[in-house]
């Protein structure tokens, strides 16, 4: 009986320690290769084909079926330029110029990481759908209420974040992702 407890103890402690350390190793260390441009953050590890087991496990969990950064580069903002978390109760002005890529888009996601339901069926603005001012720059209002001009709907009462995608970024961007130019996010007002 004591021998059984001894060996079972080894197995149980070993299992708990092994799985626990695996879990901790995956949770930490995912920020090593992340960069930011204002509120926009990019994780450069996703999708690159690195052979070590930790990288591969992390890709499986956080960047499954992603592409290399020369193909697509993703930046996500969860706050405005002032650092306040993005809220569906506020209206934001997102203003900028074309992103340096063959094609680009900006998409808001809810706290569950899925697209936000809205009656207009608008889920993003992009190089080909955004309306521009005379000088070529664009102004988009992100709000739960319908807006004149470019409108990106979000959901009242829910926080959200926005992902900017660069499809085939220009060489200057993937060579130095921290120097990329992204739109500004300024709070206009809240309800």
């Amino acid at each position: 009986m004591r021998a059984f407890a001894y060996w079972a103890g080894i197995l149980v402690f070993g299992l708990v320690l092994g799985l626990g350390s695996a879990f901790l190793a995956l949770r930490s260390g995912n920020s090593g290769d992340s960069i930011s441009v204002g509120p926009w953050k990019a994780s450069l590890g996703a999708g690159s084909m690195d052979a070590d087991m930790y990288t591969r496990a992390r890709v499986a969990l956080f960047g499954l079926l992603a592409l290399d950064k020369k193909e697509t580069l993703y930046y996500t903002a969860s706050t405005d330029d002032a650092g306040a978390p993005l809220s569906g109760d506020c209206t934001y002005i997102v203003e900028g110029r074309d992103l340096a890529a063959r094609w680009w888009s900006v998409t808001p996601y809810g706290p569950d990481s899925y697209l936000l339901p809205n009656d207009a069926g608008i889920y993003s603005f992009s190089k080909t759908t955004v309306k521009r001012e005379a000088d070529g720059h664009y102004i988009v209002r992100v709000s739960a209420d319908r807006q004149d001009g470019n409108w990106l709907p979000v959901k009242r009462g829910e926080s959200f974040d926005m992902t900017a995608r660069f499809y085939n970024p220009d060489a200057s961007v993937y060579a130095a992702p921290a120097n990329a130019t992204l739109p500004s996010i300024v709070k206009e007002g809240c309800k």
Partner: protein
Amino acid sequence: MKRPILFILGVALVAGIVHVAAMRALPDIVMSRVMSKIGTDTKNAFVSPPLATAAARTIVRPSPDLAYSTCVLDLSKGPVRVTVPLTAPYTSVALYSARTDNYFVRKDRDAAGKDLDIIVVGPGAPSPANVPSGVDVVTAPTARGLVLVRRVVESPEAFPALDAIRHKATCAPYKG
């Protein structure tokens, strides 16, 4: 008196084995789940779901501007030919192994206006005897895997024409 030391060594050994085994198994488990979600009975054939909306809940952070097509590869019974017509402004064809590695990617810019046309063979399998000219042979690191085609949809109005071209893509066993 040696028992406590043996106990600690035993625990460390088991923990080390479990740690490495869990880490190595994870990509295969995740990929296997994704492949069975996509292609329950449809191996070696393309599936082209509609554009993602708020109702899409299979994969987190879907891109609403991308039309995806997927083909679950099973190369255990021979090579598979993948032919994909490309659309502007962006199409990429990416091949992933059963361990999540992206071992092949080609985009419309590399294809110079032609269809992407490849024959995928399993690990260690010979190249087929008759390979049509202009078709590349790609050796997969695992017999199971996934082909993922991404197409940018410029606007909702552009989708019907693109969708018609998308459905012309083929993924089928190749009898050389």
